[in-house]
Every structure is written in C-alpha cells, then in structure tokens.
C-alpha cells in the first residue's frame, strides 16, 4: 500500500516514510503503531481557534489483515485512556474516500465523540487499481483532540504537555501563529509554483529511470506545495481538479514503479 496521505491531499502527513508504506502493500500481515506529526496548512488559525491547528499529532495504527474484533479493540483503547462509551456519545459517521484516477479507495468512518471528530477509521479496499487482499485497517487517532477529552480542556493550548507544568501553548502557540502567517500571507507563491513544477519534473524523470522511492519523495513534496498554494488562495475550483490529478499521476507512477522493481 502506498501513502494514502498524498491521495487524501488534505490530510497532509507529507513527510511519511515512503518505503515503509510501499512495503505494507506487499506483506500479508503487518501491525504497526506510531506517532505521526501532520501538517494541514489551510487549517492554521494563528493559534486563535480552540481545536484547529495547522500542525498536529496523529497516532496511526495499521493492521493487516483487519482483525474481526477491531472495533471492539478500538473502543476499548478509548475507554482505557478515560473515554468511556457509556458516558460519551461515540459515533461512527460514514466517511469514505475514493480516487478513481488512482484506482484507490477506502471505506470507513470518522469517529465522533460528543460531536467532535477524534479518529479516522478506514478499511483500505483498493490501491493503484489493485484490490487489497487481505484488507488492512488504518486507525488515525487525533491526539490533541483526544487529550482535550481526557484532560477535560476546552482549548487545545491549555493541554498539559508533561507533568512539569509545560503546556501545549508553550511549545506550539508561536509556531501556529508564525506558520499561519506564512501559509496564508507570506509564502512566496511564485517560488511555490516553480517548486511544484520542479518536484513534478524530478519525480517524472526519476520514474523514467525506474527509481521509485526518491520519485515518491518528490510526489509528496509536490503534494505539500499544493496544500500551501491552496492555503494562499491560489487555486480555483477547476484548477484544483487539475492539480490533484497531476499529483495522483505521480503517486500512481511511483507505486507502479516500486511494484515492478520488486519483481
């Protein structure tokens, strides 16, 4: 399986390790859990919103094949850290995604806790047009939001970072302010447009030479630049479709190239 974050271009875990992701697509069983810092430039709010951030942490769990009892295990994981499903309204709200050009699709839910989205729960169905078998499940916990429940805080910046009095604000408030300003106001759009072209060209040229993983890095880079251009308000509705399909082309090419090199 290749990096879903590129395809879900907005969820922006752009610095995801690519060889790791590709490897999952070849193995029959795989279990992994790790913390993933993520960026979503358009979600920056200069530190002024109680729960929206342009940089945040996700706890990713990937299991292949998806276990029968995975939903139970998931609910248990919440209750272990203090979110009890008999006191909180935990809901599984339909959230499928599909990318026809890439032939990629996943079905599942976003999980709401008392109306707040705290987790993405996805069964991967297809990648580069090939049906996933076995199917893997990906659970992406939104760490800040979950902590807001367990620490009973209304504002993410009031979260305790450790037991020594350091708060989330102390570490990330300034970063949120500065990056929001960069994302929305100061990122040089001329450079970004050029950089997008460069990353795209580099990716394509590497793919011609049958070099898949470095090509994929360039694809991820292009994807992040796209997100920044989006934040700068540079992309119209019709144009968006075009950019996304360009990125998909790169992702699809990298995935296929990697598979061929495995043979």
């Amino acid at each position: 399986m290749c990096n879903f974050t590129t395809i879900r271009y907005r969820s922006g875990c752009w610095n995801f390790s690519s060889s790791y992701n590709f490897t999952i697509s070849r193995t029959q069983t795989w279990k992994a859990a790790y913390v993933q810092p993520s960026r979503r430039p358009t979600d920056g709010r200069y530190g002024k919103n109680p729960n929206r951030l342009q940089h945040y942490y996700q706890f990713q769990v990937i299991i292949k094949p998806s276990p029968d009892e995975i939903k139970k295990v998931f609910l248990k994981s919440l209750s272990v850290i203090g979110i009890n499903h008999k006191e909180h309204d935990i809901r599984f709200v339909e959230d499928d995604w599909e990318s026809p050009t890439l032939g990629a699709a996943g079905l599942g839910w976003e999980v709401w806790c008392d109306g707040m989205e705290i987790t993405q729960f996805t069964y991967f169905q297809q990648m580069t047009g090939i049906e996933c078998k076995p199917v893997s499940v990906e659970i992406t916990y939104g760490l800040e939001r979950i902590c807001m429940f367990t620490q009973e805080k209304n504002n993410v910046f009031d979260l305790q970072w450790n037991n020594e009095g350091i708060k989330y604000r102390d570490i990330f408030y300034q970063a949120e302010k500065e990056y929001s300003a960069y994302n929305f106001e100061f990122a040089n759009t001329e450079y970004l447009l050029k950089n997008f072209e460069i990353a795209e060209a580099e990716c394509k040229s590497l793919l011609k030479k049958k070099i898949s993983l470095p090509a994929y890095d360039q694809c991820l880079k292009a994807s992040h630049i796209f997100n920044l251009l989006d934040a700068r308000g540079m992309i119209g509705v019709a144009q968006r479709t075009e950019y996304i399909s360009r990125i998909r082309e790169l992702a699809k090419g990298s995935g296929q190239c990697w598979l061929e090199n495995q043979k």
């Binding site: 079905l107 199917v135 144009q239």
Partner: protein, 688 residues
C-alpha cells in the same frame, strides 16, 4: 404456522445503505417465496446502524408439491441445455423421458408429488438471497471474500424457533445476538422475534425505525413547544439521524448568542451539515442560539451536551473570526486578488474572467434592456468572495457570502442579489435567479465558462464531464426559458470568443460557436423531452432555422404541443401537408431543386394569384412582428389561409401539361411551405 426471523449484525452501516438493504432484501425474500410457492401472512423489516432484521410470519412448515410435467429442451439441442434443465429443476436422469409433440421431439420430466420441508428449503434460499442482494457500495475486510455494506459479524436465522443452518462465506448461521460493544456483554441466545425484542428492548434499543422516528419527533416537538419554537425540521436530516442511532436521545444545546451576528447560512450549515444538529427558530422564524442533537445514549453525566456545545462554538468562533475580517474587506479591492486565483490553467485567472464578464455585460444589458451599470458592477464583483476565508472554509456559500459582503458595504440591493444568484441553477431541482439582473450575470458567466472549455477542447465525452459543462448548458437554457430572456446566444458566444482572444488566450478549436450551439441544442431536446413535448415537435424545433433564440423555440414548441389537436392547428397542418406531399412526390420522380421562387407572370388562375397574395401577406406579417410576435396570433394567421389553399387544391391541377406552368406551381407551393417554416419546421410534424 411458523415464523422466520433473520438478524444480520454488522459494524455501523451508513444510513442510505441501510435503508436500501432493509427494503431490497425484504423484497428479495418475498419474491423468492412467491416463486417457490411458499405462502406467508406478513413480512416486515427493521434496521439500526448495526442490525438488519427481517420477520416473515404465518409461513407453513411443510408444503405439498403436486406431481408436475415439465417440458425440457428439444432432442437435438446441445447437452448443456439438457444439463441446465435437469439442474434447475433438480431432476435425476431416470426422471427424464422423450416425447414427440407438434413442434418436434422434446425431453420431458414428470416430478413426483412430494412434501417439502420449508426449513430445509430455507437453508438453500436464504444464503442465495444474501448473495443476490447487491449493495450500492460495499467493502471487504480481513482476509475474507465476502463483500458487505460494512463488516458483517453474525447471521441469526431462526425458523419456527430453530436455527436454519447454512454457511455464508466465512460465517455460519446461529442463534446468538450481540448487544454491548465491549466484552462486558456476552452473546445472548434467542428463540424467535419475541424473545429477540425482549432482550434488545431491555437494553433500550429501539429496533423499529418508524418508532425511532416517532420518538425523536415527539421529543423534539415537546422541547419546541416548551420553548415556543417552530416545529419544522429538515426531513432529509431527520431520516438520516433516525438511522444513525439505536437508542435515540434528544438533547437541547446552546451556543453563545454572540454568534447570531454571523450570517445565518453559516450557522445553519455548521449545525445541519457538519454536525447533524437541528437548528431551532423562534415563532417569528428567526434563528435562535439553540439546537437539537440526537445522541445514541442517555447523557448521564452531561458530557454529551457540553461536548457538543464546545464543538459547535469552536466552529462558530472560527466563522466569526473570518466574518469580521472578511466583511470589511472592500469587494472592489478584493477583485484584484482574483489575479492570484486560477480559473483554469489555459484560461487564465478569475480576474481575467471577471474582466471578460464586464464586457459581456454590455451587450447583454442592451439586448435585455437592463441597466448597463448594474450588470457591469455585478459581473465585476460577483467572484470577489472566492478569495475570502469564509468561502474557502464553506465553499457551498460562494455567492451567498458575496451578497452579505456587498450588503455590508452598501451595494445596490439588485446587485447584491445578483452576486448571490449568479451561480444558479446549481442542480436539476435548484431554482433559477429570481431577478433579471441575476439571470443576466448567471448567463454570461456560464457562457464564458462554456466558451473557454470548448475553446481548449476540454469538451465533455459520453462518459466524462469533469467540468460539468452539461449542467452549465442546461443552466443556460433553464435561465433563458424560466426567466424569459429573449437573447441571441450566437452573438454572445461570438463576442465571448473575441474577448478571450483579446486577452491572448490561445484557443485550439476553430468551430467553437457551432459546437456549442449543437451541444446546447442536444440539451434543449432533452429538456423538451422532460417537459413531455411530442417527439415530432422536438424534431421540428431542432430542424428550424431559429439558430440561437431558445426562448422563441421553446415557446413555439409549447404552443404547438398544446394546440396540436385543435381545429386551428389541423387546418395549418392539412394545408401544409397537401402542399409538401405534392412537392415530395415530384422530388421522388426526378432530382430537381425547387427554391420557392414562383414567377407571378406565369400564374393562370385566380386561385394561384390569391394564394401568392396570401403568402406575401404572411411574409409581411413575419417581417413586421419580429420581437413582438404573439405565437397564438401567428397560428391563427397561418390557419386562416385554409380557405385560399383549399380553393387552390380543389381547382388547380399542379401537374399542368406545360412544364413551365407546372414548375411555377411547384415553386409557389414551395414558397408556401418555406413561409410556414418561418414559424417551425412543419415538415417534421406528423399529420393529425
């Protein structure tokens, strides 16, 4: 009499999939039973996100099958046919015999009278039904081959309180149901629908979706009555919410009333679409800061209420921040920011688009007798809200936000409405702009889009239409027809091409105007079909000379369709057909061109002269009425010629010995037909 009970237990199935499965699987069961002559008194289906339940009651335990004679394939048919016959009727070789009938030699079989055990039969039928149901969207999980709406965990099938045993992929039917989400709840054994209901009701699960809906509505009504609020809830949302819960609980929430200062569309979308809440309105239909949440369990500690309030306030604080920032940003100044917003790669930016729209506004306002200034202003600023934070956050509010910004900044009310309405119609059911100014801007914006994409050859194909050009075209036609815009699209399209060229935008397509008009005509024909206009009338409209005034074409189709069986219309068509039949016959005999240009000196009889005079009178009429044409009057006028034409046909023989006179009479008839075709191509309309 026995009862069949089925429970399909799964992970949470989305509402619309659940509703479809609930209805269709029940239907499949009924169809299968009818086909197999298994009688039943009643059949019901219920669902919750995790459970699909079917109860078929009043079934026989055994059915007697009388002896039957079955006709099989012909003797000389291939072996496969015989095998198929045997398999589908469950026959053995010894039961087959041959017999000659009128149509030839055939295989036959005689089945013995037998008693069928329904339970055994169900072991075959049920898994087949489950296999045959096709989900609108389905998935796989784990390493299994089964495809279902969401992971299927267990299948309970009981007939007459006993398990109907079968395997369905990796699952085996059983009699155990699951209640809790964690290990604290062990699976419970059930015997029938009654014992099932007892258990799940003791857990406060409401299985019956109708009952759930009633419960939710009753609670919502009661809350609204107490607080003197309007009891009017979005029905689509209600249907969805009913199918998102097993243990419905309605909670009233509140947000800080400071957020009521934001445009209410933002509040409503946030609540309704993003959070699935019901916004509440006071008895003056004003939005309040109260809302209803349908939760899936009782709110013992108050977490659910405070949690939901916190979420909606966070979202609204976001919106308020942007509203205050955006509303003061001058729309006129924002227009220059559109220079950074690409419309489409080869088609320039939105700034360039609005520059083109401004120029199109000029000729449009002239044709539609609108204030040139207003159309120009509206088309210059109509896209300015696209660079606001609120529209990038709530893309569905494009136009609506523009209107609010314009109102805040004191723009003319008509201009404000045009900014909002110029995206209309957005879908088949959507309305078109209410005022002419909005229609004008909507029209030129759509023309510009259509011309641009056709210009760079990004045209829709039979299967793909990524830029929704079909919808755009249908929008153009609906605006013209529904807001009665008499406009020559051809001029507008041609000018639009010129405007692109002036901006040095390179087009690769050389026949844009022609292709767009053809494309519009196709959509127009579909639109007429939807309005139940007769096929031949649509053909007549299609082959008429009226190139690009779709309002004219439309109105003509409507009036003909309405009056086609009137005497008035019969007169027109009978005169026309008499003339055109004579011409057609002549054309069949020899290939010649009849232009419709008779020579008056060659007329011999009074009838010819009268007809000629009448035709000229009608021609004069057509050239004098033009834009003021009243179609009913025209039809009257055309029908009035009947006396003259009848006289002509009764007394004049077209086929004169003198070829010049004959020729001249044919020319006269052609002139007659051509004149009539000014209205619509009557030759395509079938006789009455």
């Amino acid at each position: 009499m026995a009862e069949l009970f089925i429970e399909l237990f799964s992970e949470e199935i989305p509402a619309r999939l659940q509703i479809d499965a609930r209805q269709k699987i029940k239907q499949l069961v009924e169809e299968r039973f009818n086909k197999r002559s298994i009688k039943f008194k009643s059949s019901q289906s219920f669902s919750t996100p995790k459970r699909l339940v079917f109860v078929i009651d009043g079934m026989p335990e055994k059915i007697e099958e009388k002896e039957k004679i079955l006709k099989g394939p012909k003797l000389e048919s291939p072996q496969v046919a015989l095998d198929g016959f045997m398999k589908s009727n469950n026959l053995s070789k010894s039961e087959i015999y041959k017999k000659k009938i009128d149509k030839g030699d055939f295989y036959f079989a005689k089945t013995k009278a037998k008693v069928i055990n329904v339970s055994k039969e169900l072991e075959l039928i049920i898994p087949e039904i489950l296999k045959n149901y096709s989900w609108k969207k389905s998935m796989k999980w784990g390493d299994y081959d089964l495809s279902w709406g969401r992971p299927l965990k267990s299948i309970v099938v009981l007939f007459n309180s006993k398990i109907v045993n079968f395997n369905f992929y990796h699952l085996k039917s059983n009699n155990l149901i699951f209640i809790g989400d964690l290990d604290d709840a062990k699976p419970k054994k059930i015997n029938n629908f009654n014992s099932y209901l007892k258990i799940i009701e003791s857990q406060n699960i409401i299985l019956n979706h109708k009952k759930r809906k009633d419960m939710i509505l009753k609670k919502m009504d009661r809350i609204c009555d107490n607080k003197k609020l309007i009891k009017n809830f979005n029905n689509i949302l209600l249907e969805e919410v009913v199918n998102l819960v097993e243990r419905p609980n309605v909670i009233i929430g509140k947000f800080d009333s400071i957020y009521l200062k934001i445009p209410q569309e933002i509040l409503i979308i946030t609540m309704q679409k993003h959070q699935k809440y019901f916004p509440l309105f006071d008895d003056k239909k004003k939005l309040t800061n109260l809302f209803l949440v349908v939760a899936n369990l009782p709110d013992q500690k108050g977490y659910i209420k405070t949690g939901n309030q916190r979420v909606v306030e966070a979202r609204l604080s976001d919106a308020k921040f942007f509203w205050e920032k955006n509303k003061t940003q001058s729309l006129i100044k924002q227009v220059s920011k559109l220079k950074n917003l690409t419309f489409f790669n080869q088609l320039g930016t939105f700034y360039e688009k609005t520059q083109r729209l401004r120029k199109l506004a000029k000729i449009t306002s002239e044709q539609l007798y609108l204030s040139n200034e207003k159309v120009e202003i509206a088309s210059s600023v109509c896209k300015a809200d696209l660079v606001s934070d609120l529209v990038s956050e709530y893309p569905e509010l494009q136009g609506i936000m523009g209107k609010y910004f314009a109102q805040e900044q004191g723009f003319d009310e008509d201009v404000c409405n045009a900014i909002k309405d110029h995206y209309l119609p957005v879908g088949i059911d959507s309305e078109v702009p209410k005022k002419k100014l909005g229609s004008a801007v909507a029209l030129i914006d759509k023309i510009d889009t259509l011309v641009g994409f056709f210009g760079i050859n990004e045209k829709p194909t039979s299967s793909k239409d990524p830029f929704a050009l079909r919808r755009t075209s249908l929008g153009i036609l609906r605006i013209i027809i529904e807001t009665k815009l008499s406009i020559k699209l051809k001029d507008l399209i041609n000018y639009s091409i010129v405007l692109y060229e002036e901006q040095n935008i390179k087009f690769v397509n050389n026949s844009i105007t022609k292709e767009i008009l053809v494309f519009l005509r196709e959509r127009f024909k579909n639109l007429l079909k939807d309005k139940k206009i007769r096929g031949d009338i649509i053909d007549a409209a299609d082959s008429s000379n009226i190139e690009s005034d779709f309002l004219e074409l439309y109105n003509k189709c409507i009036i003909i369709n309405k009056s086609i069986s009137n005497d008035l219309y019969k007169n027109i068509i009978s005169s026309y057909k008499r003339a055109s039949n004579i011409i057609d016959q002549e054309l069949k005999i020899k290939e010649t061109k009849i232009m419709g240009l008779p020579e008056p000196i060659l007329f011999k009889s009074e009838e010819e002269k009268n007809l000629y005079a009448k035709i000229n009178e009608i021609r004069k009429y057509f050239s004098s009425v033009k834009k003021q044409e009243v179609y009913a009057d025209t039809l009257n006028k055309l029908s009035e010629t009947k006396f003259v034409t009848d006289n002509f046909f009764d007394n004049v023989i077209v086929n004169d010995k003198n070829p010049d006179i004959k020729r001249n009479r044919l020319e006269l008839l052609q002139m007659f037909c051509k004149t009539y075709n000014n209205f619509i191509d009557f030759s395509k309309i079938e006789g009455v």
